[in-house]
């Protein structure tokens, strides 16, 4: 099946195949980002701004509004992989561990 993603409830959620999978309020460690001057940003995700699917994987991606709690810079991230569809047959999703370091993709 194809992967259907959208943001919900004013940006509270990334929904993947009609299941609320990724919520705001987590801290994400981000490398190679242009959000602030920190080498690794400690980013509080406050709202989902945009969602998309990268066919390889298939990887579910999102851009979040929020703030680096290390330096205080506010902004919107580039595309972050938030999880993958591990079972293309039933659309089953596995989220990434937000506490490990993530690369921001463009």
């Amino acid at each position: 099946m194809t992967t259907d993603v959208h943001q919900l409830d004013d940006g509270a959620w990334v929904s993947v195949n009609d299941s609320r999978e990724v919520n705001v309020s987590d801290l994400w460690l981000l490398a190679e980002h242009d959000l602030c001057g920190c080498e690794v940003a400690d980013f509080l995700a406050e709202g989902v701004v945009e969602v998309g699917v990268e066919p390889a994987g298939p990887a579910v991606q999102s851009r979040f509004a929020g703030r680096c709690i290390r330096c205080g810079a506010e902004g919107v991230t580039g595309w972050l992989t938030v999880g993958r569809v591990v079972d293309p047959a039933d659309g089953g999703f596995r989220g990434v561990d937000h506490e490990s370091i993530h690369l921001v993709d463009g």
């Binding site: 919900l8 009609d18 609320r20 506010e74």
Partner: protein, 587 residues
């Protein structure tokens, strides 16, 4: 391209959602097809049902819209009985027990832990008693707000209750206005205190005089959400009271036609106001949406506004006040707006015994009982209930407002209501305000949606996170010096990411510094306005004290922040069936 939500709305929206809701309720939670969850949850909002956060699937927050906050005689008891029977969750809240009502900052009522299967019975009981959840959430006319004592107030210039009631009756359910690009918040003020809080609504009617006649000036485009706070702007229009519905309907239709349906984050009319400005707003309204000549704005009464004005004086309807008919009303302080059902039911009895049985909700999350003859005041006030819900509260109790937060809300970053209760108690014990400061407002919102209206408080608190010894902890941004009044002002955000257990210490130090440095009689708001952010930040000084905060460690990752024993998401009983027993999981 229309947003996904717009696509769902174009399939089924408005009143017709109800039959589907009733069918799902009858068949049970599992009857909602998995692949249609998102569409139905979005639609249920129109009928006042907002699903609770993760770990609480199948439970709903239910919002009852009470126009202008008015609960007619008997309705308070009905609300209390419904909360008692249907709003009992699977776990206790340590401050409030397990059945309570939330009085909200838009004069509505929120109940939690409502099960889908109970919705038909709840609706039946509400509607048999003239109450409704219709359009309490979702993209249309929300609960209309106004001066809570409209129609009874000695400060009132135009009787505004019938105006608000008429708008409610005209536009709720009117199919031309039930599917708007986004929420539509309307306020009607008739008094000289400004307690309709029009400045922070999408559309506001405010008392104004034109050629010797009293009517309303019109403002458009207020709202606080998402770090995009705006005050409503005057569009140079005055309306006599008979024509309020024409102008309100015209503005709502304008929003329906020109609001952004492609991007929900850009949909509120405040963004259209940014783009067009007030002159174009007026011109389009005149040319396309009303069929009479709009009079230019009249003389307003804003210079007298005291409600939430940040001048250190009361203006909130708490206490005992005379009505325009010689009876009295008694405004009770409800800390963070949450009242246990026993209190609700007792108050309903007292309102009937000593008054007319009517009650009213305020935008400061408080409740008022009305129509009390003078001779009944003392016997009424003798009841113990008034010790807990006081008509003469300490300023820190009186000034506290808090939103829903991580207890139930998906957007939240931090715990709110229980924390604010603890803050208020600690501040009352440990901090002395200068003797002439009778009102001091502290509003806590769990995220930037700003449901607790933090930007218009003396001290604004907004959910954040920080690290303490490397560990993530709940934190708050601190803003200062907001308020409404003649010239409203949003708080300046001066100190960011203060660990939540250091906030009471920060407020204590700030109050001490304020007292030491203020000019004689200077209000807190003026004090803030006269200083730059750096100077103010230096006055805040966060520090740990003997205040103890049990909610420091990411309450959002529990299934319920106050669950006894295992509070992890995996330990949640949700989703449940209609009797509250866990349903087997699909995977």
């Amino acid at each position: 391209m229309p947003s996904k939500v717009e696509n769902w709305k174009s399939e089924v929206y408005g009143a017709e959602i109800r039959e589907h809701l009733m069918r799902f309720a009858e068949e049970g939670w599992d009857a909602i097809p998995d692949e249609e969850h998102d569409a139905w949850f979005e639609r249920f909002k129109w009928w006042g049902l907002y699903h609770q956060r993760s770990g609480q699937e199948s439970f709903f927050m239910m919002r009852i819209g009470t126009p202008n906050g008015v609960l007619k005689p008997g309705q308070l008891r009905v609300v209390g009985e419904i909360a008692d029977e249907y709003a009992r969750g699977p776990a206790q809240n340590p401050e409030f027990g397990n059945a309570y009502c939330d009085w909200t900052t838009r004069q509505s009522i929120q109940l939690h832990w409502i099960k889908l299967e109970d919705v038909p019975e709840v609706f039946e009981k509400l509607e048999a008693n003239g109450l409704s959840t219709q359009q309490a959430c979702g993209d249309s006319w929300r609960n209309i707000v106004g001066c809570p004592v409209a129609g009874k107030d000695t400060h009132e210039h135009i009787e505004a209750w019938s105006v608000a009631e008429n708008l409610n009756e005209t536009f709720k359910g009117d199919e031309d206005h039930t599917n708007l690009p986004r929420k539509w918040k309307v306020s009607v003020t008739g008094c000289d205190q400004g307690c309709g809080q029009g400045d922070i609504n999408d559309l506001a009617f405010e008392p104004a005089e034109k050629d010797g006649e009293l009517g309303f000036n019109v403002r458009v485009g207020g709202g606080l959400a998402r770090k995009e706070a705006r005050f409503a702007r005057g569009i140079d229009v005055w309306v006599p009271r008979e024509q309020v519905p024409d102008v309100a309907g015209g503005m709502s239709a304008l929003f329906r036609e020109y609001g952004d349906r492609d991007n929900r984050f850009n949909a509120r009319i405040k963004f259209l106001m940014d783009e067009w400005g007030p002159e174009k707003m007026r011109r389009v309204l005149q040319e396309e949406f009303v069929d009479f000549e709009l009079p230019r704005a009249g003389e307003d009464m804003r210079e007298q506004y005291t409600y939430n004005a940040g001048d250190g004086q009361h203006g909130d309807h708490v206490g005992v006040h005379e009505q325009n008919d010689g009876n009295y009303y008694v405004g009770l302080n409800v800390l963070v707006g949450r009242m246990g059902v026993d209190g609700v039911l007792e108050l309903a009895d007292l309102a009937e015994e000593y008054g007319s049985g009517e009650a009213r909700l305020t935008q400061r999350q408080n409740i008022i009982v009305t129509d009390i003859p003078e001779e009944n005041l003392d016997p009424l006030l003798d009841h113990d209930l008034f010790e807990h819900y006081s008509p003469d509260p300490h300023p820190f109790m009186r000034g506290s407002i808090a939103c829903t937060g991580t207890e139930f809300c998906s957007l939240s970053i931090v715990e709110t209501k229980n924390r604010q209760v603890r803050y208020a108690r600690w501040l009352k014990e440990n901090v002395d305000l200068p003797a002439d400061i009778e009102d001091f407002h502290i509003h806590l919102s769990g995220c930037t949606a700003s449901c607790a209206q933090p930007q218009i408080a003396d001290i604004s608190l907004r959910g954040m996170k920080t690290r303490k010894d490397g560990e993530p902890v709940e934190a708050l941004d601190i803003g200062l010096g907001g308020g409404l009044g003649e010239n409203p002002r949003f708080a300046d955000w001066v100190e960011m990411r203060v660990a939540a257990d250091e906030v009471p210490g920060a407020i204590a130090n700030l109050v001490e510094n304020f007292e030491a440095e203020r000019a004689e009689d200077e209000s807190f708001r003026d004090f803030v306005e006269a200083r730059d952010e750096e100077t103010l930040a230096a006055l805040v000084e966060p520090e740990e004290t003997d205040y103890d905060d049990p909610y420091m460690h990411n309450t959002k990752q529990t299934w319920y922040p106050y669950a006894e024993g295992d509070d992890s998401l995996d330990a949640s009983p949700a989703p449940t069936d209609g009797s509250g027993d866990p349903l087997p999981s699909d995977d």
